[in-house]
């Protein structure tokens, strides 16, 4: 859960373009580096954020010129919280086919949610107030 000690690092809107993915990823990685995550965790956070931003741009907003991707980054001494919202039709993660099942293992797509969940400590998808979906991911910095 977000704690009172979490500080808002970023709260911005991005255009629904693939260029926004690189921009958003870099913003989150700057925050992660400032917290002191090691390079392996930085890599994991980067991939999780990238996957979520790509989903927001392509599946959520479908590159719509007037729809925005909402990126909010909260930092605490030992954790990073990333919230990525879109203005699309919304989705349930339970509706996404299991990419690990035998019938899906050789499919070209459908692994993004799996990677986000594997690389972050907390992951949730909820309806975004107004319209769309809100993905919330938390990564904790472990001692040592």
């Amino acid at each position: 859960m977000t704690q009172d000690s979490d500080r808002i690092h970023t709260d911005i809107q991005l255009d629904s373009k693939l260029e926004s993915v690189d921009h958003g990823e870099e913003i989150v990685l700057q925050a992660a580096r400032a917290i002191g995550f090691d390079e392996d965790d930085i890599h994991r956070i980067g991939i999780a954020v990238r996957e979520s931003l790509v989903n927001a741009v392509t599946h959520g907003n479908r590159f719509h010129g007037r729809k925005k991707v909402h990126l909010r980054v909260l930092v605490a001494p030992d954790s990073l919280t990333v919230e990525i919202g879109d203005e699309g039709p919304g989705f349930s993660k339970d509706s996404v086919p299991d990419p690990l099942s035998a019938e899906n293992i050789l499919k070209q797509s459908g692994r993004g949610l799996l990677m986000m969940q594997a690389f972050m400590d907390e992951f949730s998808v909820t309806p975004r107030p107004g319209a769309g979906s809100l993905v919330r991911m938390v990564k904790r910095r472990h001692a040592g």
Binding site: L18, I47, V54, I105, K107, Q108, G110, G112, L114, M115
Partner: protein
């Protein structure tokens, strides 16, 4: 940050040396085109060297799978060489480590095609 692909021939095996990031957009498109070009010209023994690839997103993983199925559907073989720890982790998470034949040694990989 973008990806480069260089091909070389070792006997009848085509080795693709990749470096950079295989991600949605240019990286994954270039990879798809390369596989298409190789299979169209009859190269059906493909070894993808990922020693200099540290970053693959789900789109890039999808292109690896697509390359694998395209080559094997044409009666060929598509294998991987020299995974970095990060790419190996991704293949473990996605359970694709059991799908691809993976080698650490190029000579052994080349021999395995025959």
């Amino acid at each position: 940050m973008s990806m480069t692909l260089t091909t070389r021939q070792v006997g009848d095996v085509t080795v693709i040396d990749a470096s950079g990031r295989i991600t949605l957009g240019e990286g994954s498109t270039a990879f798809r085109e390369k596989i298409r070009e190789l299979t169209a010209s009859g190269n059906k023994k493909v070894l993808l060297n990922l020693a200099d690839v540290n970053y693959i997103d789900s789109s890039g993983i999808g292109e690896l799978v697509s390359g694998f199925t395209n080559v094997t559907n044409q009666g060929g073989a598509f294998k991987l060489l020299s995974l970095t720890k990060r790419v190996e982790d991704l293949l473990q998470i996605t359970k694709l480590y059991t799908v691809f034949e993976v080698f650490d040694d190029e000579a052994a990989a080349i021999r395995s095609f025959n």
